[in-house]
């Protein structure tokens, strides 16, 4: 599908240094009483200044409060109830993927239904068994999936489309974007399987929006 997707350079294997590699300070400028070349008088200074919430001495930023997804139901693709678990990234910077029959929710992005693109990912096949996302390619536009949350609520999402990308053309920035309309992407693999790499050539993405 050349020409339709954004070219994204996937930075596989970049070094991730988790040691305290502190670097020297940025350029810091102590205020200098410098004569300006041309001073600009600002009319009504106060109009250009906005107030902000104060910092509380000793306090740390409040932790994010999020209602986490815990299960996924997708009856049109034979997912009765699949467990959803929080995942991050591994040491190589790739999305962590749980075991064959579990769905991973990218915990650093939004929960499904929050602002931005929520990501659910699972194997299409893993260690010789079908993955829970085996039938993602069979999703059809208009199908609904339902996410169950840890507070016993649920939300449904409608499939808008299914797209297959070569992995080196996967629009990662878009899929993991945290801003904008609430939306959901479900990711698995597809295309040719490379037995030497034990990896698939493509990713398959199902795009959905809250109903």
């Amino acid at each position: 599908m050349a020409g339709c997707t954004t070219d994204v350079v996937v930075d596989i294997g970049a070094e991730r240094d988790y040691s305290f590699g502190f670097r020297n300070g940025q350029n810091l400028n102590a205020i200098e009483a410098s004569a300006p070349t041309e001073s600009q008088t600002v009319a009504r200074l106060a109009d250009s200044i906005r107030s902000l919430p104060p910092l509380e001495p000793g306090a740390m930023p409040a932790p994010r409060s999020v209602v986490r997804p815990v299960a996924l139901r997708a009856p049109t693709i034979a997912i009765d109830t699949a467990s959803v678990i929080d995942v991050g990234v591994d040491d190589a910077g790739f999305l962590e993927i749980p075991a064959a029959k579990e769905v991973g929710w990218y915990k650093f992005g939004p929960a499904p239904g929050e602002t931005g693109s929520a990501v659910l990912a699972a194997h299409i096949a893993f260690n010789g068994s079908d993955g829970i996302f085996r039938n993602i390619p069979d999703l059809r536009v208009g199908d609904q999936v339902t996410v169950d949350y840890e507070d016993a609520t649920d939300r449904s999402f409608e499939i808008l489309g299914i797209v297959q990308y070569a992995k080196d053309r996967l629009p990662l920035d878009d899929l993991f974007e945290r801003r904008g309309q609430a939306r959901l992407v479900m990711i698995t693999c597809g295309g040719d399987f490379n037995p030497n790499l034990s990896s698939y050539q493509d990713n398959i993405i199902a795009y959905a929006v809250p109903v």
Binding site: M1, G93, G142
Partner: protein
Amino acid sequence: MGRFMALLASLASMALMVGIFATPASAQDNTRIILIHGIPGVDVDILANGEPVAEEFGFGDRIDLSDLAGETLEELTVLVAGSDAVAIAAGDVLLPNAGNTTVLAHLDEIGDPTLTLFSNDTSAISAGEGRLTFRHAAAAGPVDIKIDDAPASRGLDNAREIAADLRARDVAVEVLAFSEDGGETVIIPKQDVPVTEGESIVVYVVGSPGDNSVTVLTDVVSLSAAEEDSEATTDQGTEDEGETDEGTDDDGDDEDTAMNSAPAGVETGNSPLTETSIPLSAIAAVVVLAGLMTFGARRFTR
């Protein structure tokens, strides 16, 4: 419809769909200048150009000077609130016309009030990591900083900083100063600081050991005023955080102002499919319904 026309139609529809799921356009210039009062125990009035910039400005208070980027604050003066006592006579101060800057009023090494401009690094943060910055802004000589009991910095001077991107987690932070006889004093007892994924957190060590007022002011670097507003409320992101964007443009400007990064890839399969069913590569890439057209007109907003 011929196969080619069908493909064209589906490509057009996919462009619409991709539009919804694409990275948002940047609304406007991202120059940021935030002024923070980092001197405990004294409210101040701040004047410039003969006018008030802030009045009864208390310890920890902040104001947003971003709209004055590139302007000169003439005869910038910090007075003890309600008096003529001058705490800082900064003269003419040229505010940066680009970048992300924090202006901090704080005590220098010997305890005199001063003003320092700090430049905030807003470069991309790798997925899974958060940025942590310490700025020494207390009335003390060089300090040592420990993170999780290991030395992270030695001999950091007043008005200097150290920074690193770390795997997101809570880290235990301790700050030590040195007395004239060489003895070590803990000025910030060990406490947790949340290294937050995709965000940049700045810890200012402020105050004076002499009067036991040393503490931390912790700020989150924000890239835009809208972001600042959303952080101000404690309501977490729900769909009604889709605030109207100020001047969203659809001309294809896709400057990305967020610091967080996507993962490097998604590896969701390590063995071949067990069934010899339809080879996936033969499936048409896009199946889109007319229902998508209803979303075509709505670029997403923040």
